[in-house]
């Protein structure tokens, strides 16, 4: 197996991460892996869902995987890394890699909640970081912000409606 992997900083943000090429091949015992060409022998088991026990050169690591509608994180001890994993043979992964910053961006609900109000109208110009929709959960209100500068193409959120994580609230192009 070959993967292209971007690992972000310790703070959980993938910004600034460089892509690594990881090759994994089953060996007689454990796995032969090459990370950016460097050979490393690892032994890996999944003792329970989303938990990986990794032995590298005698060192033992317990890594926890956290997946949400929008993120994938690896926890090495109490350090968290945002990770993006691509299979270079997959056409869609390549398309995605090419089109990351261009084109329409969907704004997704990060948590379950209720839409309180809209801060902009469709077709208005917005700056990156500008609030688009206010969502309330556990008696706190949260502004969901635009990931980029552009035009609000569509607002799917309706005030009063309940939303689930991953629901599209708006599209900015």
């Amino acid at each position: 197996m070959v993967y292209e992997i971007i690992v972000g900083g310790n703070a959980g943000d993938k910004a600034g991460g460089k892509p690594h090429r990881l090759e994994l091949e089953k060996a007689a015992a454990g796995w032969e892996c090459r990370l950016d060409g460097q050979p490393i022998h690892v032994d890996a088991v999944i003792p329970r869902r989303d938990v990986l026990s990794l032995l590298v050169d005698g060192h033992s690591y317990e890594i926890k995987r956290e997946q949400t509608a929008t993120d994938l994180h690896m926890w090495v001890g109490s350090a968290r890394f945002a990770v993006e994993l691509r299979d270079p043979r997959s056409l869609r992964s390549r398309q995605k890699a090419a089109g990351d910053e261009e084109g329409p961006r969907k704004i997704l609900a990060p948590m379950p909640g209720r839409v309180v109000r809209l801060l902009v109208a469709e077709n208005s110009d917005v700056e990156a970081g500008q609030g688009i929709v206010v969502v309330e959960a556990m008696k706190m209100q949260n502004e969901i912000k635009s990931p980029k500068k552009g035009v609000v193409k569509k607002i799917s959120a309706t005030p009063g409606a309940a939303v689930n994580p991953g629901d599209v609230l708006a599209i900015v192009e």
Binding site: L24, V42, L52, D71, G77, M111, R114, V168
Partner: protein, 520 residues
């Protein structure tokens, strides 16, 4: 002794009370709202009855429905926990009228302590030290200016019926006072239906230290030591410890005696907490009395060896306190972390949802009072407190190390939690030195977030260029994808919940795609 108790609460505190009842051989009755059918307190109780829809005002705050369940189930007493109806004198009265014992103080004591101005008037009579200011609402802005001149700026305006920071204004100069008073009064009216606002001297960077008391119904009142509660944000406590790093036995005795005097002045019975503000010269001033079991009661239980819930039930059943003040000894050190469903990357905004993975710590000196379990859907309708993790050891330093170890073992996925915040606090030099005040946490959060990895093993892999934790994360991501392919490829590691990119169009997320198209 009671044979059956109804617990008018939910979450970790309901589970805590159910456990005490089971230990004492008392049957338990839980109540639950529509979204709490699968909650832990319902699973752990002997009987459970629905009391209405998710909003608390239609379920956990409905006195009539709760008393109806008490009647139907034959419960002889109601434990209110904290929050909800726990400090509601009307509810305590309604219980008395229905012939059900309310496990807590009398409605009369609650009423006296419920209003901050009436509490100040009582304390003035009893000779308790409190922050200089008025004990009655301000009649006019002129009166406010006159009092402020006398006690000196800065001053704090506070709603008599207040709580949670509502109706509170800090005023630095005379010119700000009039408009601050007007806005505090209108906020107090909107929040509490009562515009009474009084004035007191603002204590700069105070500590918040509270004293636990217990009083039986035969006139015996004891104090059980203080809790340091200065680590707060949005006027909500985040981490508490006992004893306080600055309180010595002499100061503890003086605070304890004042707290007992406060309780006696209010004819107080059952468990209660007297809160003090402590200034930089270690002068302490009465702030208010909480007429309920506190969230942070476990740190007192660990340092005194007493079970406060057992004692609450015994007192309510008419028993005498089984010990005297001279029997109370403080031993060791305990620190509590309040685990909230909050997103540290998004200004600690609440984060409800389904818990997909839960790994919980245990081992020496660790107590965990929790209302969550793997697979549970944390509802969005209530307080975000999920669990309390308490470390106990022979001294403060060891308690800190134990908690760091336990936090390292704690892992919650599916929702965000503030677990990482506690590693920051416990590793902070000021915290370790005991330099705390109510502004501590805001100052800590204003600093850049250092990498929280102090407990992680240092990778020393013997291969050139393979040195970092990032490397381990990269290999792990690949291994997960190979060993558990139901997963990772195509998932986009974003910068947190507030933004997202084209990831929703990715094939790996058919469900999400279907959902988003359904919205068109």
């Amino acid at each position: 002794m009671f044979k059956k108790i109804l617990i008018a609460n939910r979450g970790e505190i309901a589970v805590r009370i159910i456990r005490a009842c089971r230990e004492m051989g008392i049957a338990t009755v839980a109540v639950y709202s529509d979204v709490d059918r699968a909650a832990l307190h319902v699973r752990k109780s002997d009987e459970a009855y629905p009391i209405g829809p998710a909003p608390a005002a239609e379920s956990y705050l409905r006195m009539d429905k709760i008393l109806d369940v008490a009647k139907r189930s034959g419960a002889e007493a109601i434990h209110p926990g904290y929050g909800f109806l726990s400090e509601n004198a009307k509810f305590a009265q309604a219980c008395a009228d229905a012939g059900v014992k309310f496990i807590g103080p009398t409605p009369h004591s609650m009423k006296m302590m419920g209003s901050k101005t009436s509490a100040r008037q009582q304390m003035e009579k009893a000779g308790v030290p409190f922050v200089p200011g008025t004990s009655r609402g301000l009649a006019s802005p002129e009166e406010g200016e006159e009092v402020a001149e006398r006690i000196g700026y800065p001053v704090m305006l506070k709603a008599a019926a207040g709580g949670g920071g509502k109706g509170m204004r800090l005023v630095h100069t005379r010119s700000e006072l009039r408009s601050a008073l007007e806005s505090a009064q209108s906020e107090a009216l909107r929040s509490f239906g009562d515009s009474e606002v009084y004035i007191e001297k603002a204590i700069v960077n105070p500590r918040h230290i509270e004293m636990q008391i217990l009083a039986d119904e035969h006139g015996n009142t004891v104090w059980l030591g203080e809790r340091e509660c200065s680590i707060q944000r949005r006027h909500q406590k985040v981490l508490e410890e006992a004893p306080s790093p600055i309180v010595d036995p002499e100061m503890r005795r003086r605070m304890g005696e004042v707290a007992v005097k406060v309780a006696q002045a209010a004819n107080y019975t059952n468990a209660g907490t007297v809160e003090f503000l402590v200034d930089q010269q270690k002068n302490f001033y009465f702030l208010e009395m909480n007429t309920r079991l506190q969230v942070e009661h476990p740190v007192t239980e660990l340092t005194t060896g007493l079970d406060l819930v057992h004692l609450q039930i015994q007192i309510a059943a008419g028993e005498k306190l089984p010990f005297a003040q001279s029997d109370v000894a403080i031993r060791g050190h305990a620190i509590e972390c309040r685990i909230y469903a909050e997103d540290p990357d998004n200004n600690y905004f609440p984060s409800p949802g389904k818990i997909t993975v839960l790994l919980q710590p245990s081992g020496p000196g660790i107590r965990r009072d929790s209302g969550m379990y793997e697979g549970w859907n944390v509802p969005m309708d209530y307080d975000p407190l999920l669990a309390k993790l308490i470390g106990y050891a022979s001294d403060r330093q060891q308690a800190i190390m134990r908690l760091e170890r336990a936090l390292y073992e704690y892992f919650v996925a599916g929702i965000k939690t503030n677990i990482s915040l506690f590693l920051r606090i416990l590793g902070d030099a000021d915290f370790q030195a005991g330099k705390l005040d109510t502004g501590y946490l805001d100052r800590l959060l204003a600093k850049a977030n250092p990498a929280v990895a102090s407990l992680a093993p240092k990778p020393e892999i013997n291969a050139p260029g393979i040195k970092t934790m990032e490397t381990i994360a990269a290999i792990a991501a690949g291994m997960f994808a190979v060993l558990d392919p139901a997963s990772s490829v195509g998932k986009n590691g974003g910068a947190g919940g507030t933004t997202s990119s084209g990831s929703a169009t990715l094939v790996s997320n058919w469900k999400q795609k279907g959902r988003s198209e359904g919205l068109r």
